[in-house]
Symmetry: C4
Subunit: 292 residues, 4 copies
């Protein structure tokens, strides 16, 4: 009689895991939604703690509060990570999935910094490493990706338009390389009356390309800007090109999406009149009235 | 015989209120339109007065004119507020509605500043409060919202696209947090030869995030800009990302609206099953097959 | 026998005017197209002359050439203006039309400056007036409007979307007024340790509104930018608002145009099956095959 | 018996050339794709070499490596150019085609600089020429155009919208000329107390137009910005105009593309009249009424 008990136990165990699975991994049930909202708040608060820590005034004013909050969130996310591994149907698959790695990276930095290696006198080298590791914690923001179920439509749209976006980006980059080189030729390499080279921000092609990107994307910091007449004319042409260029790809993506989105028609064919183009909710053929 | 008289009186009273109601709250009748236009001009002029007051040269040149105009508009809006309360079918509902609160806030500041508390020797503290209250009057501009009946289409479009806009904004903010942190790591925390920290504008994550927002939205003030090669490369990537990102959501909103607006459905109702939403070229009801 | 001659003469005269009318006012015939292209070149060259004149180095190098070119184009446009008046079917209507006034304004400045009033010793006052009048000549560029026949589609689209553009602009301006006032409160009116007011570029509401427009349209000069933490946070919110705001109206205009443009269907109804939605080039009903 | 041999030889020769032709000029076969990918990598690497050479620090650190890489890529592209000429069906047509000229220009600069003329003492004049020629090599990036087969859709879209883009650009340029001239009048030509002219960046119409383009395209460097109240007001109007202007053409292009792409026409050809372009739901040919 031990077998059924074991089975029951296993069943109960399974159902216990299944129930937790639904709460943690899915967002259909009220409990699952509540868990998601609480986790969202915890992620945002923990990112806020990292941000506050980077501001010197706050770090010096509340050192204990920040360390306490840090450990609170680390333990919370460690608990979450553990429960996710226990509940997951295929733990290994979860661990090596994108979200599994993000969840692990969200807790590791705090533990790593607590290691004895990082104790003792703070040499500059060691401090820089600690600083980098501490900042890694901000990548917890990626945990939000769990919740972006709505993003799938966006992802599909980007995926569908990937060829066009690639062409668009290639075109932008080719323009950036050519205009950057031309501006390097026009604005760079000038010397003053003493034969000293003047620093213009166009002194190498990569620097000119940085300027070209800043200009073409209409950001326009103004830390580097052309000073010669020819350079200004070329810059003006590039701005108008960049301004026009945003119009055409926007139109293409819109048209593609409008076309794709308008296809809510089934591929059903009327058995009587072979009419096509029926709406997804059609029961009868709209041309001859026959049942579909 | 007093009853009918009372009724008549009440009826006349009602119709008097009803007539005013139409003039003040609606814009269908010529009188209602005229009232709206006059109110629009009064709002714009009163906002202009607040603006002029904030310019020191004008404030000193025409002090009496500005105070007079201020009281004129305050009394005008007080009168309007009173009539609205009297005419409104449910006065309480109006008072606590968005527009009721805006209308009240449009007149309060002038009265509050005239209170005896604010008289006497002008201490700096008291002056700052007065200044803040005076500026509150500029929120009269919200009274314009009464007139934006056309905005409902925009509001619906934004409401329909709210999920997509939220995803878009989440994506922007995640990118801002990550790039901001990375730039803080790359550009911030540098020391000069004396061991003094150099102020770069990337000295904390919030400051870096401010830079990231300025860059990603293509505003690009240039008050903070990267100076290291790695920082410039990351900034260039972010600009191109921000440039591409405006394309996809625009396309999605366009497609959604085109789909919604372009359904070109007739308002025909099936005589049999009362089904709606038939395509313009439908001959038979797509639900029951009856001839339309 | 004088009557027929007079008629013939009048007829010939008419046909001579009619022929010139076609060449000058229309662009269907080869001669009309050639005239338009030559006029286009003349306009662009004359604008180029005005531009060159404003550059001091060029003005001093070729003073006679510029004056000569100036008089050449003025006489050319005077000739054109005269012929247009002679050929026009209703000369008065042409003279007081938009293009008539533009054509007149294109030639007046040169004659006005040649008047004896402007001769003699060049007082500063007189020079400023001359300078303003000379620059007026650049408005010759409006003569190009004659040729923008393609612009009618754009004009119609803007006209159709005028209500939405007005709502959009109202919303932008309300946001500019409110954010400008808030920034004036946050960033303006600060005093240094000596009690002297610090000039921040947010010293009055109009100045703050200028900043708000520069920011919201993503221009971002950087001549004025927030320096306090709260001001930067508000600026960041405004930038994201401005970035999102460009998406929704673009989508609305696209959808409206897509809807309008997609209606290349005739309103023709099949006389047999009453089918609608036929393409403009359809000869037979696409449902039953009957002749339309 | 020599004839058939010759024919065979010619045939084999032809097939050898045909096989190479497919690999080099087309991208349908696996070998063709591999060739394209390898060429892509070579182009990007060779452009990278040119870029590195323009950075002084890298040029001084690895002079031999860069020269070696330069000659390696030049010989590689020379080989490619030679094989392309041999394999091309009409060598002359290839040589004088856009791609043929680009391929030639990609290899020429290295050979030209190796000529004895450029040897000997480096005079400044000679160095500038060498520098310009060296930079020409960056135009190798145009060789990428071979691979942008996806770009044809974009090119078609731009071609279809050329009239509208031309109108849009004309409108932008007219606005730039007029606002530039007005700003030159308002901001330029001011003198300080000593009668000296102040340099404002609006000292000539071309300079003002440069500012107008920087502003209208929302780049906004901030190297030139208005300082007077009137100038700021005009600049604000121009920014809002530029902000609105990007909406309408985007909508027009989107609508045009949506219309073109959404025609959902079948590729069906009428069996009677050979008419094409039938709607997906057509039963009868819309031209002759024959059943499809």
């Amino acid at each position: 009689m031990s077998k059924p008990t074991a089975m029951n136990e296993k069943h109960e165990n399974l159902s216990w895991r299944a129930r937790w699975y639904e709460v943690i991994f899915e967002a259909d049930t009220p409990a699952g939604k509540l868990f998601d909202v609480l986790l969202l708040i915890a992620i945002l608060l923990s990112v806020l703690v990292v941000m506050c820590e980077s501001v010197e005034a706050i770090r010096k004013a509340y050192p204990k509060l920040l360390v306490g909050a840090e450990w609170f969130f680390t333990l919370l996310f460690t608990l979450e990570y553990g429960v996710r591994i226990i509940c997951a149907r295929r733990p290994k698959r979860y661990i090596f999935s994108f979200y599994g790695i993000v969840d692990l990276l969200a807790i590791l930095p705090t533990y790593v910094i607590a290691l004895p290696i990082f104790e003792g006198g703070p040499s500059a080298q060691r401090l820089a490493v600690i600083r980098a590791i501490r900042l890694l914690r901000v990548f917890r923001i990626f945990k939000l990706a769990h919740m972006l179920s709505e993003a799938s439509a966006l992802r599909q749209a980007i995926w569908a338009a990937r060829a066009k976006i690639a062409v668009f980006l290639s075109f932008v980059l080719i323009a950036v390389v050519i205009v950057g080189s031309a501006m390097h030729l026009i604005e760079g390499g000038r010397v003053d009356s003493d034969g000293q080279q003047i620093v213009t921000g166009f002194d190498s092609i990569p620097e000119s390309m940085y300027w070209a990107i800043v200009t073409m994307t209409t950001v326009g910091y103004g830390d580097v800007s052309p000073t010669t007449g020819l350079g200004k004319a070329l810059a003006a042409c590039m701005m108008i090109l960049g301004y026009c260029m945003i119009i055409v790809p926007t139109g293409i993506v819109s048209a593609e999406l409008a076309h794709a989105g308008g296809k809510s028609q089934t591929t059903q064919v009327c058995p009587e009149c072979m009419g096509e183009g029926h709406a997804a909710d059609a029961v009868h053929c709209k041309y001859c009235g026959a049942k579909l």
